[in-house]
Structure formats: structure tokens, C-alpha cells
């Protein structure tokens, strides 16, 4: 109930539509600039407005760190008690850390179906350190959003 009220007060559904559009543009763009930022913003909003999707993070505690190779992009995503907090700072004790060459490579790596996942890994475009299962879960949630946006 509280969440429903907050959705109205905070214009979450309106912001969600805007975030979906941004995500769609990102998916279609050549460079996939700001992919991570756009993805995580959309993810945060969908967690608020979509009860079924929120179920993904009930009782889910996890720390993700995404960094590009030159260090100009650093994004931490922390899931804690049904909430997602995103910050642009390095965090310790991550469950998985993903290092990517550019955001296009990261997008190809995370979203399925993409035929070049292997090449992204093998060409060192994306590497990860830590628990692969956390990455798989994150990729599932991201793919769900991709399908949600592209099937509209």
C-alpha cells in the first residue's frame, strides 16, 4: 500500500516510461553509451512499480561492482533487503566484479540472446571476478527488462 502511494507521489510510473524509452534508445544505439546507468535506473524503478519483478530481490543481498578498464566508469549496485542502491564509487567485498572495455561490450555480455558473448570474454572485452551465479542472476533481470522494453 505504502509503495503504491509512493509510486503516485514520486511519479514513478511516468518516470518508468521515460526510463524505458532511454533503455530502448540505448539498446538501439551503436555505442550503447550510458548503458549501465540507464539499465540500473530502469531496474530501480521497475522494482518499485512491478511486484512480480520485485520478487527477484526479496531476501536478496548482493554487492556488484562494474568498472571499465580505464577507471572512468565505476558503478556499484548493492541489493539489500528488497532494495537496490546505485552509487558511482568503488566498493569492497563484492560478490562479483565486472570489468569491461566499453559499454557496448558490457551490454552484449549481459543481454541475451547475443551471439558474441564468447568473443566478449575471450577478447578480454569483459572479464569478471567472483561468483558467476550472481552475474547470471543480474543478467536474467537485465534480460527481463530488455524483453519488456522490446516487446512493447
Amino acid at each position: 500500500m505504502l509503495n503504491e502511494i509512493l509510486n503516485i507521489i514520486l511519479f514513478r510510473k511516468f518516470r518508468t516510461n521515460s526510463a524505458k524509452n532511454n533503455f530502448m534508445k540505448c539498446l538501439q544505439s551503436e555505442l550503447a553509451e550510458d548503458f549501465l546507468d540507464v539499465l540500473l535506473k530502469l531496474m530501480s524503478l521497475i522494482f518499485c512499480v512491478d511486484k512480480h519483478f520485485r520478487r527477484n530481490i526479496e531476501n536478496f543481498n548482493a554487492r556488484y561492482l562494474f568498472m571499465n578498464k580505464d577507471g572512468s566508469i565505476t558503478v556499484a549496485a548493492v541489493f539489500n533487503n528488497g532494495k537496490l542502491k546505485v552509487s558511482e564509487q568503488k566498493i569492497d567485498n563484492t560478490d562479483v566484479t565486472v570489468i569491461f572495455k566499453d559499454e557496448r561490450a558490457l551490454m552484449n555480455f549481459i543481454l541475451s540472446p547475443k551471439p558474441d558473448i564468447l568473443h566478449a570474454m575471450l577478447n578480454q572485452e569483459v572479464t569478471f571476478e567472483g561468483n558467476l551465479n550472481y552475474l547470471s542472476k543480474f543478467a536474467f533481470m537485465a534480460t527481463h527488462l530488455q524483453l519488456m522494453v522490446t516487446k512493447q
Binding site: N56, L118, N133, Y134, K137, F140, T143
Partner: protein, 819 residues
């Protein structure tokens, strides 16, 4: 004395036109679509989440978990098969093993049903169950993550996760072995349960109980628990068959269901008394293994030997006809093909199109060294010839001193008619090779094939033959770039073995290469050892142990070294390309001085662009493995010997040695697609040659090719080898005889194994361009069979480009040009 009583060993009067049940089931089989089955994952998770007692010893926890699944497993009858039991709840199911790799399809749960490459159906409800209930439970619990945490994410694991150095299949399974079902068929599970109970009771009398006694007690308790689960499943099948029979009106089907109910009420709990009971008992035993362990190359073994006495008795007593025997064998073949592996999209690149490779082995000699070919051998060959299914993976042992020429030629005829199966195995070298590994002669004579081509003494030897799949091109490139690989950039991966441009001789390069190879094998073996230890803690295997000689006597699970013999297999990808690259370096840089090492490296980096003359020289003038060039023979033999000595010096966590092998599944295509240009003239991204087969187009003359490969010391290849040959056509009796003679000559030269595709370049090109015209075209890949249409494009191209020989002349057929 020959056991062959058939008047026509070809059984030509039996066809799919008069074997109605097989024709119908085959049609159903080819129309079935692969589906993910969540049932096993659901019950295994449910048990561990809600019913598990963490105080139980690991082996007991495992037994209770598997028992829980088996007791609750669906008893379904998806078609009119005469044998009861299914691997999964689906007609063509991919079971999930969350203890291992099942979580790798997590990202794809909503897309796996519709993906372009080999989709696997999964309903929304089942996807939700996996996403919300099952997978979260396993995030920290699967073998890969437990190992990573326990050993602090070691370097060997990072190398494994980069995929281009080696694959450690132990992260994903306890598999690749040949259990022996004879004891279940002959004595029944109740006998084994009682045996375990007696041993438990005997040990309980020891006071005080030592730690070893306690471990034995746990093992014997676990065996009883887990085997009771199988009996529960059989009883559930029996009840379900009765219920179903009440609902069907077709009298034939009704009778069949009633028969299955009767059979499952008796076996596998009790000894089989008929051929039908023996076949169903064996099948339920095979299903049960997949309740515990992954469905990958768990091979039922020498079925013409195991089932023969039941067949003979029924035939002699007039209870069975040849037609009925063929129907039951055909039903078993289709049951063995009722499951597939769960394959994530990424893995399609490396393993796409693979079946589960349950290998069946026919023929050869018996424990006394005498001809073991019998009527059932020919019945199984005929059924194979008629059904033409990918699984079971069929293998024919041939002992040119003991088996008849008629048998040899009949196997050739089946290969010609199926275009691909069975594979041929040389009994004489295989037995010697196993004896050299310390296997007693009578046990070596009872060998069967594991999965692709690997050798195991049936039900005595736990060989985990796919423990390591090492890419030989990786150490080659590490040597070329002094510990780095082009694919992994500037990172120092391997040791510094020197800048090759400063090497003064080929011997220096060879030493450096051996250094990189030794280092990489050390890493691969280390990771296998880590996984082995974690298997012991997390996934012991009491059910599989009950089907082996050794564990019951020792009171020791298979994974702790309970089997009579133990080993770990390490197969190699890119053998021929590596040898040819060594040849090219020796010849071009050090003998002919055609180029300097610096120039060669520059050409490789440029993918030979701007170096066309050098490229032509490397392709056409450098010595090639598969020819009688002395440099090529020396380098191939040196590499085989070096790998053998290196692996054999390593003892695994079960006390067995590592065994090198040369088969590659589809990895030679996947790994080739990811490697840079090589000194043999292979350009970046092109597939490697498969198994132990020469590079396509390199060996122009079949005789020389077979002579050089047969000349490799088989004692140094204890894990087995896959030689792929392609013949244009085998049309008449004279061709069959010639075909048989070629195989015999190769075996007399020492060759271990050979498998064929009987099809032309043009046929395969047409099949690639028009898959709808070839829905059931079966091909041998590198050890196993696949449907051509299921393979990825790279693998299809590799099969197309494989050297095609004219059977009658032995000359390579010119390649017609391919887009």
C-alpha cells in the same frame, strides 16, 4: 566356439515396414522437441531446503537426496515404447543439475525456448520456479562456487573461466564412465541392499569404531537408502502402468502396459528372468544413475554381452522371437535417446549439437580372449542400421585375430548404410593399452567405450575420462609470444620461456613449448584435483558406486577411489594443427631458413596479409602430420610421448593416473574460431582439425595417412583417440570388402580407433544450404554422433572441409570450392 546361430547376420527380412512399433516410435522421436525438465532440480532442492539433516555424513545426505527425488519422480509413459521409465518427465528432456552447471541458463530463462540455436522449451511456470525458488538456493552451493571459495579463486580457475586454455568438466559433473549392470540384472537390487546391510551389521560389531569403520558404515547405509529409491521408482512405474492400462481402449497398448506393470513389479528389485525384464531392469538402472549424476557419457557398455544370456535362454525356451528381440532392443535405443543436455547459448559455440553420448559397445573378445560376437551383436547392429539415431553412441570392437571377416564386413555395411555409425575400435591395441595401465588381462578384455572413444574396463574402472580438455594451441601460442596469447592481450599468462626470435635451434623452441605445456597441464590438473576434493565433500556418488566392482568390497565411494581401477582423462584439442605448426617452424625457420622467427610472428599477427608467399610455402611445403615426412613423424611422436610421460607422472585424488587422449567433440571448431593464425598456415578463426585427425587437405594419400597415425604408440594414448575419415561412397559388396580391408590394415599398423562419414563434399554442402532436405542426416563429429542440422555453422564447415577419400583409390578427392 562361435555363438552365432542366425542364418542371415544382416537380418535383412526385418525392416521398419514390418517393425511397426519401431517405425512409430522413431517418427515420434524425430518429431520431439527438446524441453528443459525441472523435476530433478525441484526435488533435490526441496529435500535439501526442507528435510536435510546437516549432521548426516555427506554420502548419506547425498543418498537421501537422490532417494527423495527417485521416490517422487514422475512415472510417465509419453509414447508406446515397450519399456517403462523415462530419464525426465518430458518426452525429450534436459534434466537440470543445480549442483553443477544448471545455473548457467539463468540469464536465458525467458529466451531459451525461442533462441535461434537449438532451443529448449521451458514454460513460464517452470522458469519462475527456477528463478525464484531453485536457483537462489544454489548460488553459493554449486561445485564451482564451493571450489572457488575453498581455494580462494585460484589462478587455475581463472584460466578455466577464460575457456581458451582448458575446460575442466569436473566443475560440471561426475560422468564419463561405464557402470556394469550385470549384478542388478543377475541378482537384483534387493541383493545389493542386503549385502550392504550385512556389511554394515558386520562393521557395527567393531568396538571401538575407527574413523575408517565409520566411513564404511556411512557408505553401506547410503547404498541401501539410495537403492531403495530406485525400487520406489520402479513400483511407481508399475502402479502408473496399471492405472493407465485401465484408461486405454487399444488392446495392444493395454496389454503392453499390463506387461510393463508386471515387469516393473519384479525388476530391478529382483533378478531378471526374461529378456524383457533384463532390458527394462537395465534401463531403470540407467535412469537411476542420471537421478544422481549428470547425463553426459554415462555409458551402458557391452550390451550384447550383458543381455545375451537372457536372450539365449528365452530363444531356446521359445519365449522370444527375433522380431520381438529387435523391438525390445529398438525400444531401448530410443529410450537411451530420450534425453539431451541442458546447453546454455554460449556453450552452443563449443558443444552445440552434441547428444548425451551413452556409448554402447559391441563385439570383440570375451574374458578368455575368444570371439564374443553373438546373435545379439547382429540384432543390435541391425536395429542401429534401421533407426539411425544419434544416441546411443555405437561402437564396434574388432579383433582381427579372433572376430570373423563376416562380422567386420557387416559392421562396415552398417556404417555405409547409416553413413556414420558404429565407430570401429581395435581390440588388440586397446587391450594392450589397458594392460599397460595395470589392468588385469581378463578385465582389459572386458573393456567398453566411454562416451566418445575412451576405454574402460566395464564396471571396474572409474576413469572420469573427460576431466580435462586441453587446448594444445594455447601452449603453442604461449611459446610463440613468451607466455602471452594474442587473445588475452598483454597479460603475462604462462611462464617466460624466452623470446623465440632469439632461439638458435628448433630444439630450443621445443624445450620452451614443453615448458609452457607442462605449466598449463599443471594448472589444469590442479583444478581437477580441487574439484575432485569438493566432489568428495559435496556430491559423493553412492548410487553409481553400487554398479561398480570395488566400492562394495572396500566400503568406499567411487569418488574416494572405491573402484578397482582409477584414472582421470585429459583430452587434447588441436593436436594436428600444433604438430604441423611445430613442423612448419622447424622447416621454415631452422632448416630451409625461409623466414626468420620475427618474420613468421609478423605474418601471424597480420593473419598472413602481405605475406602470401610465406603462407603458400607454409601450406604447401612445410611437413604435414598424416604424411610420411620424417619431420612430421618425429614431431607427432615426440608430442604424444611427452604428453604421456607428463600425465602419467600425476596421481589424482583417487589414487589413479592421468590418461592423455585425443578426441575433441566440437571443441576443435569452437576453439579454432577463437585462435589467431598459426605457423602451419591456418588462418585466424579457422577450425582446428578434429581429434587425432590430420588437418583437412594435408594428407593426400590414405595409405600414408593411416600408416603414420597407426605408427603412433597406442600405449601412449591410454585415454583413446578419434580418427575421422570421410569416404565418398560405399556402394557394393566389393566396396564393403575394400572398406573392411582398409580398417584391418590400419588396425594391423597399430591404429586404435576410426570413425567415418560416408558422404561427399557436395552432399554436406547441400545439407548446409538446404537443411529441410536432410532432417535426420547423422554425422560423426569427433567421438560422438550428431544430427548435421543441429551443429553450428563453423562445425558444419569443418565437417564439409574434412578430407574426403575415394575408397577405391585411396586418393584425396579435390575440394570442389565452398562458399
Amino acid at each position: 566356439m562361435s555363438q552365432v546361430m542366425l542364418k542371415d547376420i544382416g537380418l535383412k527380412e526385418y525392416t521398419l515396414d514390418n517393425l511397426d512399433i519401431l517405425r512409430e516410435l522413431r517418427d515420434v522421436h524425430f518429431k520431439s522437441r527438446s524441453e528443459i525438465c525441472v523435476e530433478r532440480a525441484k526435488y533435490v532442492t526441496e529435500y535439501l531446503r526442507e528435510k536435510d539433516n546437516p549432521q548426516d555424513a555427506p554420502v548419506i545426505r547425498r543418498a537421501k537426496t537422490v532417494n527423495y527425488f527417485l521416490s517422487n519422480k514422475s512415472a510417465v509413459f509419453p509414447d508406446n515404447n515397450l519399456i517403462a521409465g523415462t530419464t525426465t518427465s518430458k518426452a525429450m528432456g534436459a534434466p537440470l543439475y543445480p549442483e553443477f552447471f544448471a545455473l548457467t541458463i539463468w540469464p536465458e530463462l525467458e529466451t531459451i525456448s525461442t533462441r535461434k540455436s537449438n532451443p529448449q522449451l521451458l514454460s513460464k511456470e517452470e522458469a519462475d520456479l527456477l528463478n525464484f525458488e531453485i536457483y537462489p538456493f544454489w548460488m553459493e552451493r554449486n561445485v564451482l562456487e564451493v571450489t572457488r571459495k575453498r581455494y580462494n579463486n585460484p589462478q587455475c580457475m581463472k584460466l578455466f573461466e577464460q575457456l581458451i586454455f582448458f575446460v575442466a568438466s569436473k566443475a560440471g559433473c561426475i560422468s564419463h564412465t561405464v557402470p556394469c549392470y550385470s549384478v542388478v540384472l543377475d541378482k537384483g537390487l534387493n541383493y545389493i541392499i542386503q549385502e550392504a546391510a550385512d556389511k554394515e551389521s558386520e562393521i557395527s560389531k567393531n568396538t571401538p569404531l575407527s574413523d575408517e569403520d565409520q566411513e564404511k558404515l556411512n557408505f553401506y547405509k547410503a547404498v541401501q537408502t539410495v537403492l531403495k529409491g530406485i525400487i520406489d521408482y520402479a513400483n511407481n512405474l508399475s502402479r502408473a502402468a496399471i492405472e493407465l492400462s485401465k484408461t486405454v481402449s487399444d488392446p495392444v497398448r493395454k496389454k503392453s502396459l499390463e506387461k510393463m506393470a508386471e515387469v516393473c513389479g519384479r525388476v530391478p528389485a529382483n533378478p531378471a528372468s526374461t529378456f524383457h525384464e533384463a532390458v527394462n531392469s537395465l534401463w531403470i538402472s540407467h535412469i537411476s544413475i542420471h537421478a544422481e549424476n549428470i547425463n553426459m557419457a554415462m555409458s551402458p557398455g557391452r550390451l550384447d554381452q550383458i543381455l545375451y544370456k537372457y536372450y539365449r535362454k528365452d530363444m531356446d525356451e521359445g519365449r522370444l522371437t527375433i522380431k520381438e528381440a529387435m523391438e525390445l532392443v529398438g525400444c531401448l535405443w530410443l529410450k537411451l535417446a530420450d534425453n539431451v543436455n541442458m546447453v546454455p547459448e554460449t556453450a552452443e559455440e563449443l558443444f552445440g549439437g552434441a547428444g548425451t553420448a551413452p556409448a554402447v559397445t559391441l563385439g570383440g573378445v570375451d574374458a578368455n580372449g575368444e570371439d564374443a560376437v553373438n546373435d545379439l551383436t547382429y540384432i543390435m547392429l541391425r536395429v542401429t542400421e534401421l533407426l539411425k539415431t544419434r544416441d546411443p553412441s555405437m561402437n564396434a570392437r574388432y579383433n582381427y585375430e579372433k572376430n570373423s571377416k563376416e562380422y567386420r564386413d557387416r559392421v562396415c555395411e552398417v556404417i555405409a548404410n547409416t553413413k556414420a555409425v558404429p565407430a570401429f575400435h581395435n581390440d588388440i591395441t586397446d587391450i594392450k593399452t589397458l594392460e599397460n595401465q595395470g589392468t588385469l588381462t581378463e578385465h582389459a578384455r572386458d573393456y567398453a567405450i566411454i562416451g566418445c572413444v575412451e576405454l574402460a574396463s566395464s564396471g571396474r574402472s572409474y576413469d572420469a575420462s573427460s576431466s580435462v580438455m586441453l587446448n594444445l594451441v594455447a601452449p603453442l601460442e604461449l611459446t610463440l609470444y613468451n607466455g602471452k596469447r594474442p587473445a588475452t592481450g598483454d597479460e603475462q599468462i604462462g611462464p617466460n620461456t624466452g623470446d623465440p626470435s632469439r632461439f638458435k635451434s628448433f630444439e630450443e623452441f621445443w624445450e620452451a613449448f614443453k615448458g609452457q605445456l607442462k605449466w598449463l597441464i599443471g594448472e589444469a590438473v590442479q583444478l581437477n584435483e580441487y574439484f575432485g576434493k569438493i566432489h568428495q565433500e559435496v556430491v559423493p556418488t553412492p548410487l553409481l558406486s553400487a554398479y561398480f566392482e570395488g566400492p562394495m568390497e572396500k566400503g568406499k565411494d567411487l569418488i574416494f577411489g572405491g573402484a578397482l581401477y582409477n584414472s582421470s582423462g585429459a583430452t587434447h584439442i588441436g593436436f594436428a594443427d600444433t604438430v604441423d605448426s611445430l613442423n612448419a617452424i622447424e622447416k621454415a625457420v631452422f632448416i630451409d631458413k625461409k623466414c626468420t622467427f620475427t618474420e613468421l610472428l609478423a605474418a601471424l599477427k597480420a593473419n598472413f596479409q602481405g605475406y602470401e608467399s610465406l603462407h603458400q610455402y607454409l601450406v604447401n611445403k612445410a611437413p604435414k602430420y598424416g604424411t610420411e615426412d620424417p619431420v612430421a613423424i618425429k614431431n607427432s611422436q615426440n608430442l604424444i610421448c611427452f604428453l604421456y610421460e607428463l600425465y602419467q607422472s600425476r596421481v589424482n585424488y583417487r589414487g589413479g593416473k592421468y590418461r592423455p587422449a585425443y578426441w575433441s567433440m566440437t571443441n576443435h571448431s569452437g576453439q579454432g574460431g577463437l585462435a589467431n593464425a598459426l605457423p602451419n598456415g591456418r588462418k585466424a578463426g579457422e577450425p582446428f582439425a578434429s581429434g587425432i585427425t590430420p588437418v583437412s587437405g594435408a594428407a593426400k594419400e590414405l595409405t600414408a595417412c593411416l600408416k603414420t597415425i597407426g605408427g603412433l604408440d597406442s600405449l601412449c594414448i591410454p585415454g583413446g583417440e578419434a580418427l575421422n575419415l570421410k569416404f565418398t561412397t560405399v556402394e557394393n559388396e566389393s566396396d564393403i570388402e575394400k572398406f573392411g580391408q582398409i580398417i584391418e590394415s590400419y588396425f594391423r599398423l597399430g591404429g586404435m580407433q576410426v570413425q567415418f562419414n560416408i558422404m561427399s563434399y557436395e552432399t554436406l554442402i547441400d545439407a548446409k544450404n538446404h537443411p529441410e532436405k536432410y532432417p535426420g542426416l547423422m554425422v560423426r563429429v569427433s567421438g560422438y554422433s550428431a544430427y548435421f542440422k543441429d551443429l553450428n555453422d563453423k562445425m558444419k564447415d569443418e565437417l564439409i572441409k574434412r578430407t574426403e577419400y575415394n575408397l577405391r583409390t585411396g586418393a584425396a578427392v579435390p575440394f570442389p570450392g565452398f562458399k
